[in-house]
């Protein structure tokens, strides 16, 4: 039982990171119909920027409790500039091109960002300083530490704020309008370029937070870390129904749970016939199964709600 509980905790923590990253994919897809494969790299850049700022601030003698939020803010701002630039340089000129062109461009941007990060921050792993006393807590045999609790709560909080922005504000209405029909939105006086830029910036800010979470949790950053994370988050977005915000959150948490429960129990359930090497197979099997029965993902059909 405690093992089961622990797997649920593992899955929820992992899942909330997936969910945050998946939101970035789904927001951009909702508005542009573009899969921004460079999003995983924005996560990585966010983590790297936090690390660099943090190291600099601590070097100047700023207290850790002040340095951490400051560097997260710097990383969010940095990623917002990055997200804006990516859209402006790589995607906007291709907005009316065939769909394949921006997709390939996105992969290109991802490779460029990876290599730039490799040049700036090096090939090696960089360890992330542990600033918060990371106490473990025991809940009925399952161990969860402070950083993991913060990750989970912060992810939930950010998602709630995002829902409010999209559904309760003027900007959110503009976003939904652009998602539904760009031309009609433009005729109604919505500045679509501005809305699209803001969407990219919001997604990138979320990515920066996710990057900090991942590196704080595992205590490391690496220029390659965004790739696999991006792939998993993309899967989560598709699972939940790409273009749908709630779908991305649900898909993220679900994927986290499927992975940890799958990896934890598949060996015992099949008597060792399938092992935890089938962890990813298991996750993608669920994805395929969902798409066979619901081709637009779990929550994918509510077009009006997408943003």
């Amino acid at each position: 039982m405690e093992i089961f509980l622990q797997q649920i905790v593992n899955g929820l923590v992992q899942g909330s990171v997936y969910a945050l990253v998946a939101l970035g994919y789904t927001m951009v897809y909702g508005i542009l119909g573009l899969i921004n494969f460079a999003h995983g790299e924005v996560v990585m850049i966010g983590a790297m920027l936090t690390l660099s700022t943090l190291t600099a601030l601590l070097g100047w003698g700023v207290s850790p409790l002040l340095a951490l939020p400051l560097s997260i803010i710097v990383a969010m701002l940095g990623c917002m500039v990055l997200g804006y630039s990516i859209e402006r340089i790589a995607y906007r000129p291709l907005r009316h091109a065939p769909r394949l062109a921006p997709l390939i461009t996105a992969i290109g941007v991802s490779i460029v960002l990876q290599n730039i990060a490799m040049i700036i921050w090096g090939r090696g792993y960089r360890s992330f300083p542990q600033l918060i006393a990371n106490h473990p807590h025991n809940f009925g045999g399952a161990i969860i530490n402070d950083i993991q609790i913060i990750i989970f709560l912060l992810a939930l909080g950010i998602m709630a704020v995002l829902m409010v922005i999209v559904h309760r504000t003027r900007l959110g209405r503009a976003m939904r309008a652009v998602a539904e029909n760009q031309h009609a939105a433009q005729l109604m006086g919505v500045n679509i370029n501005r809305v699209i830029s803001i969407t990219f910036m919001m997604g990138s800010a979320l990515a920066a937070v996710a990057g900090v979470m991942v590196s704080a949790n595992y205590g490391l950053t690496h220029y390659y870390m965004g790739f696999i994370l991006g792939l998993k988050a993309f899967t989560a977005a598709v699972l939940g129904g790409i273009g749908n915000l709630r779908g991305a959150m649900m898909g993220g948490l679900l994927l986290g749970l499927i992975e940890s429960l799958g990896a934890g129990y598949i060996g015992d359930l099949t008597g060792g016939f399938f092992g935890s090497n089938y962890q990813d197979v298991f996750a993608f099997f669920v994805l395929v199964a969902v798409l066979v029965f619901r081709p637009s993902g779990l929550l994918g059909e509510r077009l009006a709600e997408r943003a």
């Binding site: 093992i3 622990q6 593992n10 490799m118 530490n145 205590g219 490391l220 934890g264 935890s276």
Partner: protein, 392 residues
């Protein structure tokens, strides 16, 4: 127009990257009439193992720079060595493309690849084209067991290493219940399988065998499953990029078992990644400790001055190049067909060991050292000799 400057910067980066990769392969003689000998090298220079790949490249480069500085004569002509380094991304498919590219560049020999998973498929291409391959670090038994006359390695194989590790875990550390995780690469899987055989032979019980991959960062799910089996010792077959974070997550999950890994984990990077959790973990490395190697101290000093701390296999790369050059000198030719027989029968005093190959191309009588992290540093615990006869 401010964006144009940004995009032109990106474009410039691209152009630089592209021109940097191009190396012309034309005549075997340069302007000053020296004999040009091209030596290929391949390791992952991008991706999660890029730090190890760069380390290999540096070790190889240092040997080549040394050889050029010494003014080595081959067959009465002054030789100039050129390094052609290629990125195989630790990916077996990319490795075969890289191997073909090196063959097309008419290299005299190849130092590589870093991983077993890449060395094994590449070995066929080198063999088909008659090019000598010396892997500094591929330890999977399968690498030299394919029967290719051109494949050599300067490091003990996993049968030797896995046996020493398994024996040490079951006997010296008295582990009764052992859990194993491997990364499903040719190296990780091979080492884990040899470890399991040896541990069982010494009376230990394998209570769990779980898997991950060589790009993963999160192991909490498999570690939780392992925790349920309450092992005395957890063995990981794989590289430091996973081993380090795994050791950390072992601590975080309060999994109270000893942690042991192979040569892939014996790096400063492992300690950096695992943080405090690195303390008292075990790892092994074929060969004797660097400061006990014949030229180890001096090598380390010169390497650190040029490239920074040694990650792992740089001294082995250095030896691999030198033993290849020594064979060329002995045969008086950089032609692989001519120097292959002299390489097979060579006896060369390298910085890592006395290098002699058996009939398969494996290193003869490779010793294996067990290390433990004490006060944030790898410290040698015991060096166990393995005779080649026992390894086959």
């Amino acid at each position: 127009m401010k964006f144009n400057s940004v995009s032109s910067l990106i474009l410039a980066t691209f152009v630089l990257a592209l021109t940097g990769c191009e190396k012309s392969a034309t005549s075997d003689q340069n302007k000053s009439g020296e004999l040009v000998v091209r030596i290929g090298a391949s390791a992952p220079l991008t991706g999660p193992q890029a730090h190890l790949g760069k380390d290999n490249e540096n070790g190889t480069r240092m040997a080549i720079d040394d050889a050029n500085a010494k003014g080595i004569m081959i067959g009465g002509r002054k030789a100039h060595f050129e390094l052609i380094s290629e990125d195989d991304q630790a990916d077996p498919r990319t490795a075969t493309i890289v191997a073909q590219k090196l063959v097309d560049n008419k290299v005299s020999g190849v130092i590589g690849h870093l991983n077993s998973g890449t060395s094994i498929p590449a070995a066929k291409i080198y063999s088909d084209n008659g090019i000598v391959q010396i892997s500094p670090s591929a330890t999977a038994v399968a690498y030299t067991a394919q029967g290719f006359k051109t494949a050599f390695r300067v490091m003990a194989n996993d049968a030797q290493q896995g046996r020493v590790l398994g024996e040490y875990a079951a006997k010296n550390l008295a582990a009764k219940k052992i859990a194993v995780i491997d990364d499903r690469t040719a190296y990780g899987q091979g080492l884990a399988d040899e470890f399991i055989k040896a541990a069982r032979a010494n009376g230990a019980e394998i209570v769990a065998h779980e898997y991950t991959n060589d790009k993963a960062m999160d192991f909490t799910a498999v570690l939780t499953a392992v925790k349920g089996k309450k092992p005395d010792l957890l063995f990981y077959g794989g590289m430091d990029a996973q081993g380090g974070p795994m050791a950390k997550q072992v601590k975080a999950l309060e999994l109270k078992s000893k942690f042991m890994t192979g040569d892939g984990g014996y790096t400063p990077e492992f300690i950096k990644l695992a943080g405090k959790a690195a303390e008292s973990t075990y790892a092994s490395l074929p060969g004797v400790p660097l400061d006990k190697m014949p030229g180890g101290k001096e090598f380390e000093k010169r390497f650190v001055a040029n490239y920074g701390p040694i990650q792992l296999y740089a001294p082995y790369c250095y030896d691999a190049v030198n033993v290849m050059i020594a064979a060329m000198q002995k045969a008086g030719s950089p032609d692989p067909a001519k120097y292959l027989p002299s390489l097979a029968s060579i006896s060369y005093d390298g910085v890592t060991a006395k290098i002699q190959f058996d009939e398969k191309g494996d290193l003869k009588g490779g010793a294996i050292t067990i290390y433990q992290v004490q006060h944030g540093k790898w410290q040698p615990l015991a060096t166990m000799g393995t005779s080649t006869t026992a390894a086959h």
